[in-house]
């Protein structure tokens, strides 16, 4: 008799916990939040001005109104970059037909990764150059921007390729808020990121 009560409680608990998992909360706005005079100010990607693979200047206004996934890499990186690039390619293929989604890859090695080199790189990936931007520019500026995407990167002469950096893929919404991220070397984590992208797209559809 007692045992059956325990089982019943467990069953109800499981049911209730499954229920709450089904109702999805909006994706959080990640990063440092400030409350100023009653207004909540969320972390936003700061001002940037970079050059694309087509040598076109790209700033915040060019990406506002799009949701985009962003990563930091460099062409001569022999370790994690190809793996992350493969996952970015997966994201590209999944959202190729969706005009609200863009991809933005920043180089951490602007000296070697000039716009024309990045153009060749992008050509080899056989992608649409307006949908997937490869950005380069002033080195200090890029290293400042990476902080807004919560990316760690340091020059390290002993590291393969000369730079140690993290391989996260960051999801940014139409207003420049960071909404999700995934370890770009892990296909399963990128799978979850895709679910978050779908959810964010739905949020915009219903508003």
């Amino acid at each position: 008799m007692k045992l059956s009560i325990v089982y019943l409680t467990l069953l109800i608990l499981t049911y209730v916990s499954c229920q709450s998992a089904q109702t999805k909360h909006p994706l959080p706005k990640l990063g440092h939040t400030i409350i100023e005079q009653g207004d909540t100010i969320y972390h936003t990607i700061g001002q940037f001005n970079l050059l694309s693979q087509d040598s076109v200047q790209i700033g915040n206004s060019d990406l506002s109104g799009y949701i985009y996934v962003s990563d930091f890499f460099f062409m001569n990186c022999p370790t994690i970059c190809p793996i992350v690039m493969k996952q970015m390619l997966r994201l590209y293929k999944k959202y190729e037909a969706n005009p609200s989604v863009k991809l933005v890859s920043h180089t951490l090695d602007p000296k070697r990764d000039t716009p024309s080199a990045l153009k060749q790189y992008a050509n080899n990936l056989e992608i649409d150059h307006t949908k997937w931007l490869f950005l380069t520019g002033d080195k200090e500026h890029i290293y400042d921007i990476k902080d807004d995407y919560f990316i760690a990167a340091v020059e390290d002469s002993e590291a393969p390729g000369g730079i140690t950096h993290s391989g996260q893929i960051i999801l940014v919404d139409k207003k420049g808020h960071v909404r999700s991220f995934a370890e770009g070397t892990d296909p399963m984590k990128v799978e979850h990121l895709m679910e978050d992208i779908d959810q964010l797209l739905k949020e915009y559809e219903s508003n």
């Binding site: 022999p78 994690i80 190809p82 793996i83 690039m85 790189y121 080899n124």
Partner: protein, 132 residues
């Protein structure tokens, strides 16, 4: 009756383990490949478009001696956007294992190369790299 059922279960286990252990024929080659090659050419050999060439479909596009030599000496052509670094730390036996893994497991080739055969190939491209 019970004995036959047990036998059946035992047999099923044996068959299951036989297949699960048989994933890669060249395990040593797979281990080295996963450490040295997989970051760029991917664990399954699918590569990344034209940047990092796929290695699971190279049966006819490259000779075995070219493959062995590229693994050791890399690719450093002016024309190639991304240069493949050489692997001086790999011994001939490692390269033999990788070659057999790439051809046998990733490409399904029946041919198997011996250490001697690969050493002859590597010796030839060593001379070729000196001549340049």
């Amino acid at each position: 009756m019970k004995a036959t059922r047990l036998k059946f279960i035992f047999l099923a286990f044996v068959v299951f383990f036989f297949f699960s252990c048989n994933e890669a024929k060249y395990m040593q080659g797979k281990r080295t490949y996963d450490m040295v090659c997989a970051d760029c050419h991917m664990e399954d050999g699918s590569g990344v478009k034209n940047l990092y060439p796929a290695l699971k479909t190279i049966n006819t596009s490259i000779t075995t001696s070219e493959l062995a030599c590229i693994i050791r000496y890399g690719i450093n052509k002016e024309s190639s956007l991304i240069k493949m670094p050489p692997n001086p730390a790999l011994k001939s036996v490692d390269i033999t294992n990788i070659v057999n893994y790439i051809l046998g497991d990733l490409n399904g080739s029946k041919e198997e190369y011996t250490l001697n055969e690969i050493e002859v190939m590597l010796e030839k491209c060593k001379e070729a790299s000196k001549e340049q």
